[in-house]
Symmetry: C2
Subunit: 324 residues, 2 copies
């Protein structure tokens, strides 16, 4: 059985060795650049781990694993334009380093290259793998648009929010796992159970992200704590706080949400205190745990080697107790 | 045998009937919008015509034909952002009507939907069809980037230019025809000959476009005559003129290319006169005819019904004598 770090090494090596055409430079260099910025490679690791549940020969899943990572980075390249983000993992984003047109077109060709690599599976599963890939890609786009729409909507409920993160993050983890399972030779039932594992894990993971943005250790979290609060981002925490806040808490929350150019640290402190008074952190953790449990119970149902399932369970749990 | 206008009707009906999810609205409405703006549907018509050469039952090629048109409109949606174009076929472009983020993301999902529809072919040809689609999509992106690079390059030669339009326009026509042929059950040799037909036709078509931009009847051409001249666009005509111009012609050409804010009509008239003195129109027509002949001789090689081949030849010739 491969360890997570062995899988990450395999993936990083495959990514580093990938040669793109030299010309046109502006089309292919940004792909190598964004792919070299690193990251946990969570999605391709999950794909390989899912394959390994059913077959020890996981190298045949390596190209599709890189395809998933290419797709993920394509979405980041385009999202960064839409968010006007200057930095990604501490380095310049593609549209800052080159320009917006380069980031649009290089992203487009990256999506095509992801399809190309994803096709490197046996004929017997080609159509199903491509269908899963289409569905997850569609979900990610729908989730991203819904997320952008939420910015200007005042009546986003918890259920809307969960559906948005399901589309934007969770179906993609589910899809990665299901593709890995099919490459490993899993039956439909096991493949679907792995999808459910990934989908619920993805929702739990995103809820954890919301919690860490407010309550994470700034040194370990690696981003500005309270960034979501400063940006009035409609996370589970803010939506739940609006649902529960009454009287002074409600007034104060409204004040901070509509304040023009408030001092960031003061706003973060004030909103966090409202969250604390309403017990939002605990509610978010309960919600997260519920999805985490659903994920783990789906994993239990799978007919595969106990040690391998256990390794996947441990990986999932580590993803959820992460502080970065 | 279907007439061209019957095929256009079939395609337009299929496009009009296509239902996208209602939500998120900003993701799917732009797709229906841009697809409804019309056009000659040249690419899907060619795909269906290629299928018909080998099989009268062309309805099975209708979804892949719409996939090609979706892909084409995806490139237009993203190109319009990159070109800052306010109008497309006399109507607002997607990024003007909505905004840039909508045009980026809606375009992305359009590419995914094109893959989805393109997969609606028999298992026996699925992989090959998808590979052709990947290659042509890659070509279009490479061609678009090369075209953008040409804007700031002074030493673009005729061969570079032909390679650029081959990638940007011609491989896509070739790919559409080859996919249609495979769906119709063509052998590899005939499918490749149809690719060559499309590729050469595409280059001839683009050269004709360059000629029409300067010499077309403004009423029939439907765009501003001389638009390429005003924008210093490196077309075959300008590149050839730079190659041939000497003494006063060269000086004058350099003057107009580097003039700041010249009066547009005066510039168009002056540069056209240089073209006339150098016999550029005739050279461009000779170049175009050479590619057109290559296209038609590839068509001749194909083992298919003479009447059907003739219909395709007539369609190609009409594309090349068009004034709009």
């Amino acid at each position: 059985m491969y360890s997570i770090s062995q899988l990450q090494d395999l993936i990083n090596k495959q990514i580093a060795e990938k040669q793109y055409p030299v010309q046109p430079n502006e089309l292919y260099e940004p792909i190598s650049y964004i792919m070299s910025l690193g990251g946990k490679r969570m999605r391709p690791v999950l794909l390989l781990k899912a394959c390994e549940l059913f077959d020890d020969h996981i190298l045949k899943a390596l190209d599709p694993a890189v395809a998933i990572e290419l797709f993920h980075n394509f979405t980041l390249m385009h999202d960064d334009i839409m968010d006007n983000a200057p930095l990604r993992r501490g380095k310049q984003t593609v549209h800052s380093k080159w320009n917006e047109n380069v980031a649009i077109l290089s992203g487009d060709v990256m999506l095509v290259k992801a399809y190309e690599l994803m096709m490197r599976v046996d004929d017997g599963i080609l159509r199903q793998v491509m269908q899963i890939f289409n569905e997850t890609a569609t979900g990610v786009c729908e989730g991203q648009q819904t997320d952008m729409n939420f910015e200007s909507m005042m009546d986003v409920g918890v259920a809307d929010y969960i559906e948005m993160i399901r589309l934007k993050t969770a179906v993609f983890l589910g899809g990665s796992l299901k593709i890995g399972a099919l490459i490993g030779g899993a039956g439909q039932e096991d493949a679907s159970a792995l999808y459910a594992f990934g989908e619920n894990l993805g929702i739990a993971f995103q809820l954890q992200d919301d919690i860490l943005d407010v309550y994470g250790d700034p040194e370990k979290f690696g981003k500005l704590v309270g960034g979501d609060i400063i940006a009035n981002k409609k996370t589970f925490l803010l939506i739940k706080a609006f649902e529960l806040a009454e009287n002074i808490d409600e007034e104060e929350l409204n004040y901070w949400i509509s304040a023009e150019n408030p001092e960031p640290a003061t706003k973060v402190k004030a909103v966090t205190e409202i969250y604390n008074r309403l017990g939002i952190r605990q509610l978010a953790e309960e919600e997260m745990n519920e999805f985490a449990e659903k994920a783990l119970s789906a994993l239990e149902r799978i007919d595969a080697d106990g040690d391998k399932k256990n390794a996947l369970r441990v990986f999932a749990e580590e993803l959820l107790v992460r502080e970065n």
